[in-house]
């Protein structure tokens, strides 16, 4: 048997109160694409941070080509040929592409030479990039190219990719896979972290599955069904949300000719957005992050005022109304960012329940708060949505991401909205909790609520939405019925490949 490129033996890392990795061992062979699978919080990120030298293991050893390998810092790992593309991009918005790349290199050549090398490598791998553009102006896919090229310029032996496709359109994913296959054929090993099973089945040679910090199994992805892998990840059988056939009522939410500039510097302006949602219908809005999702949510919630006629609720113009006035009418929203937007991190769950629930649940009178009723409302959310917390007096910050997400979605669902707008309802939530959130959204729609679900998870949108539209650079495509829609068509609605091309060497 040949020596593996990287061999992990009994890696353990504990943080106060939680063991992130417990005796994890596996090997990555030369020229192998190795998948690391697991739920959020399974310890994938901690594991790769140890390989990349950002975190030191408490115990256990790593062998690189048979030699002991314990990088004290990322520099050392890079010097040994380990490169990493981060999940949350480690890029600097105000600097240009070449400067960003230079920062990730040990001994960068002068800027002029570096720029021509960037052009050369980016052409070779079908990832065209202008070295002098400011990174803050790039799309998510282009930003990822910057990271990948930063790694490729160092001729890595092992390329670590942390959830690389979560920000890409299907066409961009195909091109990325071409690039990765080319790298593999050149002998580069890739450690590929994802929870998207179909991707892993097409790309990876070998998979290791982590659950709660432990290695719970290995498999050959091409020979294992996605469902089996999912159940290994979760450790129990999965329930698919049920969608009952239902009739749609009249139009509840009507958006027409909506154009607004973005409130933030690197945001995306909405351009002439049209959509209608009928009672009982779930409209799924896909698209790569940063194409106007936050702005659309802001406009629908009332945080960004707009022309009165641009948004109509049951025929009534509400474009100029603020969030509280809209809540009174029955238009409710749950934004993406849990800590800081959907919930106030340092306030208790009771207080958070009051913040959006006071109008519809009658939790205040003459300016005084009704704490008993509010506590009752918070307890009802906790019970009906299975939020795991000792009680409603706990701060929102103390809940795990998935539990808080169940709370903020439950808080809106229980207020019986006529229109509910959610952005990334299951972002960072484990599979079981995600299924229950989706089920709650479907149940709500079955009762006649018009739902707008903005999400980057296409599988989720296919699962729950009746019609689908995509946001691309602030423009919304014409909605189409979900049934019968193919991945290629969705990809084109999302804007295709943003000028990428397949590797051509």
């Amino acid at each position: 048997m040949t020596t593996p490129l990287l061999s992990l033996q009994g890696l353990t890392k504990a943080y106060p109160g939680v063991v992130a990795n417990d005796q994890v061992s596996f090997d990555i062979g030369e020229g192998e694409v190795h998948a690391l699978l697991g739920e959020n919080g399974a310890g994938k990120s901690t594991l790769v941070k140890m390989i990349y030298g950002l975190v030191k293991p408490d115990s256990g050893t790593m062998l690189l080509r048979g030699q002991a390998f314990a990088p004290p810092e990322p520099r050392a790992a890079r010097a040994d040929g380990i490169a990493m593309v981060f999940q949350h991009f480690s890029l600097f918005d105000a600097l240009n592409v070449a400067e960003n790349i230079a920062l990730g290199m040990e001994n960068p050549p002068p800027m002029g030479d570096l720029a021509s090398r960037i052009r050369e490598v980016s052409e070779t791998y079908g990832l065209p990039l202008d070295p002098f553009r400011i990174v803050g102006d790039l799309s998510a896919g282009e930003r990822q190219r910057v990271e990948i090229i930063r790694c490729l310029l160092q001729d890595p032996k092992l390329l670590i990719m942390d959830e690389p496709t979560s920000v890409l359109t299907p066409q961009e994913v195909d091109i990325l896979f071409e690039t990765l296959n080319k790298l593999r054929s050149e002998g580069t090993s890739i450690l590929y972290i994802s929870h998207k099973l179909e991707e892993i089945r097409t790309l990876c040679d070998h998979a290791t599955i982590l659950r709660l910090g432990q290695n719970v199994g290995e498999c050959i992805p091409a020979e294992t069904s996605a469902r089996d892998m999912a159940e290994m990840m979760v450790g129990s059988t999965l329930q698919t949300p049920e969608r009952s056939g239902r009739e749609f009522g009249e139009v509840a939410l009507d958006v027409s000719g909506l154009s607004v500039p973005s409130p933030s510097e690197f945001g995306t302006a909405l351009k002439n957005v049209h959509m209608t949602v009928r009672k009982g219908e779930v409209l799924g809005i896909g698209g790569v992050a940063g194409n106007g999702q936050d702005e659309l949510l802001g406009v629908l919630s009332g945080e960004i005022p707009t022309a009165a006629d641009a948004i109509k609720f049951n025929g009534q113009a509400i474009g100029k109304k603020g969030p509280t006035a809209r809540r009174k009418l029955g238009v409710l929203t749950a934004p993406e960012e849990r800590l800081g937007h959907a919930a106030a991190p340092d306030m208790s769950l009771t207080e958070n329940a009051l913040l959006t629930g006071s109008v519809r649940e009658g939790l205040e009178s003459n300016g005084f708060l009704k704490w008993n009723e509010t506590k009752g409302f918070a307890e009802k959310i906790i019970e009906e949505f299975d939020v795991r917390t000792p009680g409603p007096e706990n701060a929102a910050r103390s809940l795990s991401g998935g539990n808080l997400q169940k709370f903020v979605i439950g808080r809106e669902v229980l207020q019986n909205p006529d229109v509910l707008v959610v952005n990334q309802p299951t972002w960072g939530v484990d599979a079981a909790a995600a299924a229950s959130i989706r089920q709650a959204i479907l149940d709500l729609a079955a009762k006649g609520t018009a739902v707008v679900c903005i999400s980057q998870d296409l599988d989720e949108l296919m699962e729950i939405s009746d019609s689908f539209a995509a946001l691309n650079e602030g423009r919304l495509s014409a909605p189409r019925t979900t049934i019968g829609l193919t991945v290629d068509e969705i990809g084109l609605m999302m804007g295709g490949a943003h000028g990428m091309e397949v590797a051509h060497v």
Partner: protein, 306 residues
């Protein structure tokens, strides 16, 4: 009223002197803010620099040693800010305000025996022939060395930030400290160096007031120049040459309005006195209307585990 009494050559020469304390403090703070730290203690570091520079040059008789002591004094006071914000992770705004209050009080204590003392003079650089050229000579070539050091510092900071690797790393740390940390750069270490550089520059600026511009020691003699420096960095859009422009504009109008007061112009003194602040801020606000913006991590506390 006799505007003819105002000598344009002297006016320009003295505006450069008036602008130098502001320029020194502002270029130091620019580097600090480029590294993502907001140090509101500039005024405190300046006044500490003013008294330590004054005291040392009186005791040793050497203005050069005085300026060196001023830079060290400012840097040492900035270490207090380092301790609070980089080690104890305290709020930067509150820590900076504390630094200013502490500096003002402590300098008054240190300076009690120096009130009314006259410091040794630094003298001007007099290069034969070029400093005798009419108009240009007195404007450009008859100043003290620290004034030239200030201009050289502007050029050096600009070049380092734009062309060198250390400048790139500094900007990266100020732009996104989490990403810089993930790439393996020592965020805290780089910030400490920047804060100390800022302290040293502020100290030099303070000593320039007490040793050259005034020259004597009085309590609170920096009179808000540190705060103007902070505003100048923001309105100069964190660009070194604009700091120079803003400082000279401010110095120029300060000197001009003093001349106008002396010439007896029929504008109330209060309006003349406020004019440097208003005009400098107006001009820089108009200039900063372009896209450039603050370093994205400015004022945010960095902790490796977050």
């Amino acid at each position: 009223m006799d505007l003819g009494e105002i000598n344009p050559v002297l006016l320009v020469a003295s505006l450069m002197v008036a602008a130098t304390p502001l320029l020194l403090a502002a270029i130091g703070e620019l580097v600090v803010e480029k590294a993502g730290v907001l140090n509101l203690g500039v005024e405190g570091m300046m006044i500490i620099g003013a008294i330590s520079g004054f005291a040392i040059s009186v005791e040793t008789g050497s203005p050069w040693l005085g300026f060196i002591a001023a830079a060290i004094g400012g840097a040492i006071l900035s270490l207090l800010f380092v301790l609070l914000t980089q080690v104890a992770l305290a709020n930067q705004v509150a820590s900076g305000l504390a630094l200013t209050l502490f500096g003002l009080g402590f300098s008054a204590l240190l300076g009690q025996s120096y009130v009314g003392v006259k410091p040794p003079s630094m003298g001007e650089i007099n290069i034969p022939f070029i400093s005798d050229i009419p108009v240009i000579g007195p404007i450009l070539f008859q100043h003290d060395p620290i004034l030239y050091l200030g201009i050289a510092l502007i050029a050096a900071v600009w070049a380092v930030l734009k062309y060198t690797r250390i400048g790139l790393i500094l900007r990266a740390v100020g732009e996104n400290h989490d990403a810089a940390h993930a790439l393996g750069y020592k965020v805290i270490k780089i910030r400490i160096m920047a804060i100390m550089f800022g302290g040293a520059c502020a100290g030099l600026g303070g000593a320039y007031i007490s040793l050259i511009r005034v020259p004597q020691w009085t309590e609170g003699m920096t009179a808000g120049v540190g705060w103007i420096a902070l505003a100048l960095v923001v309105f100069a859009s964190w660009k070194p040459w604009r700091v120079l422009l803003g400082a000279y504009l401010f110095g120029g109008i300060t000197v001009l309005q003093l001349n106008l007061q002396a010439a007896g112009v029929a504008i109330p003194v209060e309006y003349l006195a406020m004019s440097p602040y208003i005009i400098t801020i107006l001009v820089l606000v108009i200039l900063s209307a372009d896209k450039s913006s603050a370093p994205a991590s400015l004022g945010r506390i960095f902790h490796a585990s977050h």
